[in-house]
């Protein structure tokens, strides 16, 4: 609780600051020549708060910057965390405009409370990969190789989408694995491999790609059994519905797909 509450509060405060700055800017421009509202398309401005799965960090940050460039006066603030922590935050009244989850199950936690505007749409899919140290020193080639004695493997906790997906892949492959730890989100699982504390982690292929040459990805056939759908939705009581609409539109557009594809996501 503490962590998500803290983040929520912080993003809230940043949101308030941003809104203040935008108001001030608006006052300045209004005193100039003509009113600028309307030039940037359907009155998109102000701060839009996006709660997004940790695995979306790189691609959504990029898309947020593009939206800010497209609609001057708009600020996109993000709260990246485990999807379930975000869903719990939204269900408890965290102020957000958009929610993008790493699984339909976590999105359902929010739609079940009737908190979304319209039904969520799937905008990307993600596959699992095994992350190892550069050069794959333990010669890991398959999911079964992870059960080698003495090998330290970390998984995401089963309450988090990447953990649930890893669990289905292990079940599909009939592999019994006792990990060293169930990490609270995909980035902390990856960090354990980057710091060489763990020999391998089952994470998303997008995370492997985002880590660059710090880790090496190993594809495995069972990952086909555990492909995650990423749904996105606007929230019912979004403080900034226009900007929320614009962000969702950008994410689901061909441009958005291109950015997501470059990060390693599969098309929906």
């Amino acid at each position: 609780m503490t962590r998500s509450a803290q983040w929520t509060r912080r993003s809230h405060r940043i949101g308030a600051l941003g809104a203040g700055a935008v108001l001030a800017l608006g006052a300045c421009s209004a005193s100039g020549s003509d009113s600028v509202s309307g030039t940037g398309g359907e009155g998109v401005s102000g701060t839009v708060t996006v709660f997004a799965a940790a695995s979306l960090k790189e691609s959504f940050t990029e898309l947020g910057e593009r939206l800010e460039k497209e609609h001057p006066g708009t600020r996109v603030t993000f709260n990246f965390s485990g999807s379930d922590a975000l869903a719990a935050g939204i269900a408890n009244g965290a102020p957000a405009d958009v929610f993008a989850a790493a699984s339909t199950k976590t999105m359902k936690l929010v739609t079940d409370h009737g908190l979304t505007e319209g039904s969520p749409s799937t905008f990307a899919r993600n596959r699992l990969e095994i992350a190892t140290a550069p050069g794959n020193p333990h010669g890991i080639d398959s999911l079964r190789d992870l059960t080698a004695p003495g090998l330290k493997v970390v998984l995401c906790d089963t309450t988090v989408p990447c953990g649930a997906a890893a669990r289905s892949a292990l079940t599909a492959g009939g592999v019994e694995l006792s990990p060293a730890s169930y990490e609270q989100d995909v980035k902390s699982a990856l960090t354990k491999v980057r710091l060489k504390e763990a020999d391998a982690a089952v994470v998303y292929r997008t995370d492997v790609r985002a880590a660059g040459d710090k880790v090496e990805g190993v594809e495995f056939s069972e990952s086909a059994e555990a492909v995650n759908d990423y749904p996105i939705a606007r929230l019912d009581d979004a403080p900034n519905p226009e900007a929320a609409k614009a962000f969702v539109k950008l994410v689901t557009s061909p441009e958005g797909r291109e950015v997501l594809g470059a990060a390693g996501f599969l098309a929906p």
């Binding site: 379930d84 060293a180 730890s181 169930y182």
Partner: protein, 273 residues
């Protein structure tokens, strides 16, 4: 904090003379501390509670929490009391700096402590790589790792508390022991220790309570595995994600244990403080 032990301030009965300017913020502060705990009790899933609490995972996490917090306190006592003595009774260059460094974990976010521990004692860490190479010891993802993370965060509480008591205690008793032929260590063992025992007990309770609630350093350094490194705070955090009722039930257990232990110790040890 423990200088009070020496001075024994006279407590005045709160009478009609309490100024409103002090009373109102005081009551506000009290309410602020108590309302969240009350909310926990109000929203507790009392009906499903017996079922929630009889699950083996809860007891496993509780057992691990108590074991690790107690071991961490013991470890803190073994090295923390001598450290407090060194700070209070000896004079060496840079003592002020050492004292400041000792208190650093008090203000450091525990997650930062966890990262620092990984970089120091991790399998690839500054010290950890030699532990691994020479003794085959790796600490992350082990119960020993939990104990170390908790000790790192909790020991400063003990050191500060004991140091304060030592400073307040009269050094002339030790000097008298020395003139009677006792070595400095004998004087410490036979005179100083009994003299500051209440302060040590109070510090140990503080450290134990801090260790029991430790989350950030633990999950960062020791990871999360039921029965091995998943202590109660970790279990609460992860349960909150998809089963808030279970999280509240776990929180109640932790709350009850903390209250019981603090109340029990207050009567036995802390009366003298």
């Amino acid at each position: 904090m423990s200088t009070q032990a020496a001075r024994k301030p006279r407590v005045r009965a709160p009478g009609p003379g309490v100024p409103l300017a002090l009373l109102l913020p005081a009551l506000l502060g009290l309410a602020f501390l108590l309302v969240p705990l009350l909310a926990l009790l109000l929203r507790a899933p009392w009906r499903s509670l017996p079922e929630q609490l009889t699950s083996p995972e809860v007891w496993e996490a509780l057992r691990l929490s108590l074991l690790c917090a107690t071991t961490a306190t013991a470890l803190s006592l073994v090295v923390g009391v001598p450290l407090a003595w060194l700070l209070a009774r000896t004079d060496f260059p840079g003592r002020g700096l050492v004292r400041a460094l000792v208190t650093l974990p008090l203000v450091l976010p525990p997650v930062v402590g966890g990262v620092a521990l990984l970089l120091a004692l991790g399998r690839n860490g500054v010290v950890g790589q030699w532990l691994d190479a020479w003794f085959g010891i790796t600490l992350p993802f082990t119960t020993a790792g939990v104990v170390l993370a908790e000790t790192f965060v909790a020991m400063p509480f003990l050191v500060i508390s004991v140091e304060g008591t030592l400073r307040a205690a009269d050094p002339r008793y030790e000097e008298a022991a020395a003139t009677l032929g006792a070595s400095r260590f004998t004087a410490f063992r036979r005179v100083t220790l009994p003299l500051v025992a209440p302060g040590i007990a109070a510090g140990a309770v503080l450290a134990w309570a801090r260790a029991l609630g430790e989350f950030g350093a633990t999950i960062t350094f020791a990871g999360n595995f039921p029965g091995r490194t998943q202590t109660m705070p970790l279990a609460v955090y992860l349960a909150l994600q998809n089963d808030p009722a279970a999280a509240i039930a776990l929180s109640l257990v932790l709350l009850a244990v903390s209250v019981a232990v603090l109340a029990g110790l207050r009567d036995r040890w802390m009366r003298a403080v």
